[in-house]
Symmetry: D2
Subunit: 280 residues, 4 copies
């Protein structure tokens, strides 16, 4: 072929395959969303339209990429969890990372008008997202990752709720509000909110306080997979399923309910109720 | 802080920094565009609306990410070239790869209606793109990469033009057309096109035959950079410029013309005319 | 400093840090040991001096690098296991891989004369070893790795014992011996050995059949670590121990017995008897 | 085969292939040589036996690994340069890094008695080396890497010569000597050496001041390679040579002189005299 003399350049491409048998988390982050939220007049401290749009885009991604087991999001970020044995794109890092960023972006933009009908997107100021893949080799480290994001959501939201109460209701300048909150602990912020503004933080919107969990309810499939008689019987290695079994499972994944929750994922309860997640 | 006991999970994140002083190529590829082009009724063998949309999305990306020096695209792919000393995102691979995929997708979708006004996007069947980053350490390997893509464009287009002529004008089945072309060389395909269908391949649309090159015309800036007195005089290492110089250069990058060409980039002429590209 | 203008080249160095909380296996392999074993007249199919030398070098390495929990070796290779939380060299891959190759080589050469007193090393034909690091995220995959190496040892040894019996005792040419064994299964080889040469394979040297396991007996330490009151109490993340606790543990590691075994590590028994290994 | 059910663990191995067409530098470093040099009573500030041993080990490595073009060493480190098109071990990083560490160690230990006949090696305190691979994509960055090491050698040696003169000849404590040198520039140290101890630094041993360069004199081969008619004629990509041509070149590499120099490699002269190095 005429192009063979150039084809050697293909050998400069390096693939990074993510370690097998580890949990994969792909976290998608809004790029420059501080400025973006100003431009499109997001309400402070939380814009419920923006959060619902994030959730809708994440759910759409999960409809499209059925390998995602669960997702957790808050603010302008979303973390998607792929199972230990997930073979999507042969676990190629760049392919995974770019596809999730692209798919999330595509849905976010397409869904925009449903949530921001009064704020049409300016073609020169579009929302974009970057993403990264992280491996978690143990179940505990995966749970701790999700706990980390939810604890972060809580801390940021308590701070932001207090800050914007001081600014918007208390009439403080941003600088003064910042000074006021400097050095305060959780209890102090609850106190400020309640005493000065009559806000009971515990009664705030659960989505603001806990973020959003989206879960594909695979209980039946997880059990089916475990009871399926693998083609090659083995107690080691990933069970090798027949093509027909794989298709049946893929069909069930597609049909599985996808639920949206605002619930505690730090404590054990959630994980005990859905013990199939870590077993699967 | 309350979340400190979970924060250790951050240590599981690995950054891959791309080797300094090498050319970076980021290639964005349409995902499943065979099916996608059927769904939205792309004309065969080339849909001029689809190609113009790709070009418009690439140009929009270059307006947004001023570090891109040039881009080459054909079919459903686009390659973006970043300079040897480019420090965008500290050369972090996942950040680069995901941002380019997201930004390209955002623009492609936003511009869709300008080019496909009669084919509104189905929210359950959106265009998405993956991407990868490849390093080229020598100028020759960068040129050969671009030559590889252009040679590929030519070969594919000659084949597709012949194939679809046989099918659409010659009334052949796809299978018969494939058999007919099997084993033919370039000359044979020219012959088939001319004799049977009166098509002079050489007179075909340059964009179809050569793909599209988008170039930020930085000649003046490249020269300015080279003549700028760096803060630390040195014949080695990247010249360190003052903050003011950097701002001036960034401003010029923003203002530089971005030209769209359909030209040969395999032979030397293009590179001699724009010798600042490889010098820069 | 005078050399600052060159120091930028340091930024071209990339560190690869191995994923935390995963088992690390470092496998050291003899380079060109086929030729090497001819040169130094290794007995076939097994040279007991050569195997004892490998074991002595591995044990010496474990005396030197106390982070190694256990090692398994056969023929000209040795696999060293580092714990999930091992922080040796901050888990830097090149540092680990090169240090193990160097330390193993240093001990192998230094111990050579004890085992091969009649075959002095030729300075132009020295033994060298390469090495690689592999991560195993689950306990099962670590066990399966070790089972893989031991199964491999068994298969190779049965083949080699049969092959060399045919050649050395049966007077066959190597080619004929190879043909004879082609297509035979385990049972056939046992039969050949017993019927033709009166060799009961099951009575062969355990070291030849099972390879060698070297284990640092850390039972007490593993328990001590688990019962130690960590400075920061937490059910997540690696327990943070006080400097004094760390020193005490390090001292115990140094003093721990290092045992050499030729035992089955495929079945559960070994792992149940030493359940602290996977718990640790 | 009986072991197939475990063989899946092989898929956990990741190879890192170093970018083609870039210079590879492999730097071997003594581990804990501060303590090591005390144990074996190295003379201060420079032990000529120890440096000659390093050089002999490096030369032996170059005799063994003919792909090394040149090496530069000082103190307890050595950097080996492999050419842009070097295909040794398919450019696999772990294989390269571990083999160089092992081969250097093997030769260092084997050659020890020639240089330290009065200090036999203690088997529990052996010399070991780690190593790393670094890529340099441009000729300038390779030169700057070597210049960096040589500038470092010079700076350290001037400091150490001054420090040990103050301690050994001036009777100062190490602490006082350190204070004395704190804040001094190059000129001050020359002055201290000359005025107080009658030492003319410029007359010191060139090996101490400049380190050691070992070069395989490949001029003829480089020219032969360039004039060889490649099997596939191409101005791009690495020329593909016939098997016979490759063998001829390999033979010449083996026969090429290996010279040991103590010369300036920072300035242009060295590189102009041996222009085939960067051309090759």
């Amino acid at each position: 072929m005429a192009n063979s003399r150039f084809e050697y350049v293909k050998s400069f491409e390096r693939e990074s395959y993510l370690l097998p048998s580890s949990w994969i988390v792909i976290r998608v982050d809004g790029r420059g969303f501080h400025k973006f939220s100003d431009k499109y007049k997001f309400a402070k401290p939380n814009d419920i339209r923006a959060l619902n749009l994030m959730n809708a885009a994440a759910k759409a991604l999960m409809n499209n990429i059925t390998e995602v087991i669960l997702a957790y999001g808050d603010s302008d970020e979303y973390s998607f969890v792929l199972g230990r044995n997930c073979q999507l794109f042969e676990r190629r890092e760049a392919k995974l990372v770019s596809t999730f960023a692209s798919t999330f972006t595509a849905n976010y933009i397409t869904l925009w008008n449903q949530f921001f009908s009064k704020e049409p997107l300016d073609p020169t100021f579009l929302p974009t997202f970057d993403s990264r893949a992280v491996l978690y080799p143990t179940d505990q480290s995966l749970r701790d990752y999700l706990a980390w994001r939810q604890a972060d959501c809580h801390i940021n939201n308590l701070y932001n709720t207090s800050f914007w109460a001081l600014v918007l209701k208390g009439g403080m300048t941003p600088n003064d509000a910042e000074s006021e909150l400097c050095g305060t602990i959780s209890k102090d912020k609850h106190e400020i909110l309640f005493t000065r503004f009559g806000i009971n933080y515990n009664a705030e919107n659960e989505m603001f306080k806990k973020g959003t969990l989206i879960i594909r309810e695979l209980k039946d499939i997880a059990e089916a997979e475990m009871t399926a008689t693998p083609v090659v019987s083995t107690h080691t290695g990933p069970a090798i399923l027949s093509k027909r079994q794989l298709e049946r499972i893929e069909k069930r994944r597609r049909k599985a309910d996808i639920n949206v929750l605002h619930t505690d994922i730090i404590k054990d309860d959630f994980w005990l109720e859905r013990s199939w997640i870590l077993k699967g």
